[in-house]
């Protein structure tokens, strides 16, 4: 299988960022505010995460805006490995309680 040759070992599925997002953020992070609704996500995948990698997240809220009387927050998130290589980066739009 071509993919098997490409990676030369086990890799995590790209969607591992779904499982890492909350584990890389503190318990009082705004993402955990009750009633925060996920409106959309856009993710780019650079290199795969592998066993024994140590992953860290840099995340920030970029902007907020009102649309159809709803409060949207735009945020971006970048996951790095222990060599500061970008694993994946994403931008999200959430609807926040007002």
């Amino acid at each position: 299988m071509p993919g098997r040759r490409r990676y030369r070992g086990l890799i995590a599925p790209p969607s591992i960022h779904i499982l890492l997002m909350f584990s890389c953020t503190p318990a009082d992070d705004w993402m955990r505010s009750p009633g925060t609704v996920n409106a959309g996500q856009s993710w780019n995948y650079n290199i795969p995460a592998r066993p024994n990698d140590v992953i860290r997240l840099e995340a920030r809220a970029l902007d907020k805006f009102i649309k159809r009387e709803r409060l949207f927050v735009v945020h971006d998130n970048v996951f790095f490995n222990q060599r500061d290589e970008v694993i994946c980066s994403g931008r999200g739009w959430t609807i926040r309680p007002q």
């Binding site: 299988m1 071509p2 499982l19 997002m21 009750p34 996920n38 409106a39 959309g40 856009s42 995948y45």
Partner: protein
């Protein structure tokens, strides 16, 4: 699913994703896996309230559960061909509830070769058992030259 390659792909080609039955248990498992315990996904009493103009009428599935299902469809399609899932953008257009069955589908929109690689854009849709769209998006898969 048929293994594909870049040369044989044409706009309009379809990718079938896995069918997924949503239950309170599957949502709870996703809470445990993602550590996302927002009451939107767990608390029936909380969901009796309104969210602005919206009342969901009960707990809803995580949007990122949808995202993971689409991602699985793309990697199941791309990896056997030596291709790489490089991008996924989604919008959640309708809530998904326990009892729903959802299924992602991809349609090849275009393909393009550059000096160093080859790229395929894919329109993505997730529909429920009523044939209603619950998520839409666009994905990009890279077929490296090697």
């Amino acid at each position: 699913m048929v293994t594909t390659n870049f040369e044989n792909l044409s706009p309009g080609d379809t990718i079938d994703g896995p069918r997924f039955e949503v239950s309170r248990e599957s949502i709870r498992l996703f809470c445990d896996a993602s550590l996302d315990y927002n009451p939107l996904h767990l608390d029936d009493d909380y969901m009796k309230g309104n969210f602005g103009k919206t009342n969901f009428g009960g707990i809803i599935m995580h949007g990122m559960n949808n995202f993971g299902l689409i991602s699985r469809m793309l990697t199941d399609w791309a990896y056997p061909a030596g291709a790489i899932h490089r991008r996924l953008e989604t919008r959640w257009v309708k809530p998904v509830r326990p009892g729903d069955t959802i299924k992602p589908t991809g349609i090849v929109k275009s393909k393009q070769a550059t000096a160093k690689s080859r790229w395929v854009l894919i329109d993505v849709t997730v529909k429920n058992q009523h044939d209603e769209k619950v998520a839409t998006g666009e994905a990009m898969v890279e077929f490296p030259r090697d």
